[in-house]
Symmetry: C2
Subunit: 191 residues, 2 copies
């Protein structure tokens, strides 16, 4: 049984032992090296992943070729390009493992089956989606309203442990500045 996954779902819904076994059987563990892609821009996202261990970043490539890091997910979080997953359209962003990662994946069809087979399956889907949705609107608000320093502070609040695990240039990209500007922000905040 994928215990970390089942523990995670247990925070949202009640499951019988049989349901736990059934859910666990639908997730397949996949190993990724640092630098491997869970999903590449242009592919159709056909799986939702639960990160058992590791760290991923979401990458958008601008028309001038510049890479932007727009988000992160770490162990015990889900990862997916949900727009592509739901409407089977090509993804506009990649998901890259930036640490060696073990990701438990469930296919689109099996996730739909989970919603109906598990008594509180739909509730799990709703609560998991609500959580992701709130993260997205919080990030939207931050992009519209905050300056880079405030966004860096929000990054520290949202991902308190990641500042140690990420290269500076991923963080500066996420905050929306060049690396030297992030260094200045950090120096200013350290005072």
């Amino acid at each position: 049984m994928h215990q970390h996954l089942i523990d995670n779902i247990s925070h949202l819904i009640r499951m019988s032992e049989e349901e736990k076994e059934w859910i666990s059987s639908k997730f397949i563990a996949k190993q990724f090296n640092k630098g491997d892609y869970f999903l590449r821009e242009g592919q159709i996202c056909r799986e939702v992943g639960f990160i058992e261990s590791g760290l991923v970043r979401y990458v958008i490539t601008k028309e001038n070729g510049e890479e932007l890091t727009t988000s992160f997910n770490k162990e015990l979080e889900y990862t997916c390009n949900y727009e592509s997953f739901l409407d089977h359209s090509p993804t506009k962003a990649s998901i890259q493992c930036i640490e060696p990662s073990v990701i438990l994946t469930i296919s689109y069809d099996d996730l739909q089956a989970l919603y109906t087979h598990v008594k509180e399956g739909e509730k799990f889907g709703r609560l998991a989606c609500e959580y992701q949705y709130v993260l997205a609107i919080r990030q939207l608000g931050s992009l519209y309203k905050q300056d880079p320093e405030q966004r860096y502070l929000q990054f520290l609040e949202t991902y308190p442990d990641l500042v140690q695990r990420l290269p500076q240039y991923y963080i500066s990209s996420f905050v929306g500045v060049k690396p030297p500007s992030l260094s200045r922000i950090r120096k200013r905040l350290a005072k």
Copy 2:
């Protein structure tokens, strides 16, 4: 019975006649004049609204006092500040009616009751949330990746009928430019 609302929900789930009546009874119709606020920044969002008729915008006020329009909802769509609604925190954005509007509202407690009382209530919640979530990540991708002209084209694609109903300065704010720049973009595209 609120027929538009029930028709809308019927696209997502099956309901018995009794369930339709029950759901309908939980929504209260509220009238708003042009310029009225459905929700003001700093308030706690305690209702989800279904816009029976009218049009709203989401407004963020920057620290320098500048107002930014970040999104729109029109008739037959839902409106809510979901982050505030879920965790009962003060909203960071306002929702303002920019046409006379009739909004059917359901309270937090009644929506939770809907999830459990209606057989496919949780499924409705999941599908409605998925829809909103995809809109949010699409907008995030647009903000990170697109230039103002591309964002304007995406605005036209997402809200094809709103270009006639909105003042120019709301659209330019949404696209992220000053009104004169939007005029130049429109002239360029008209060629």
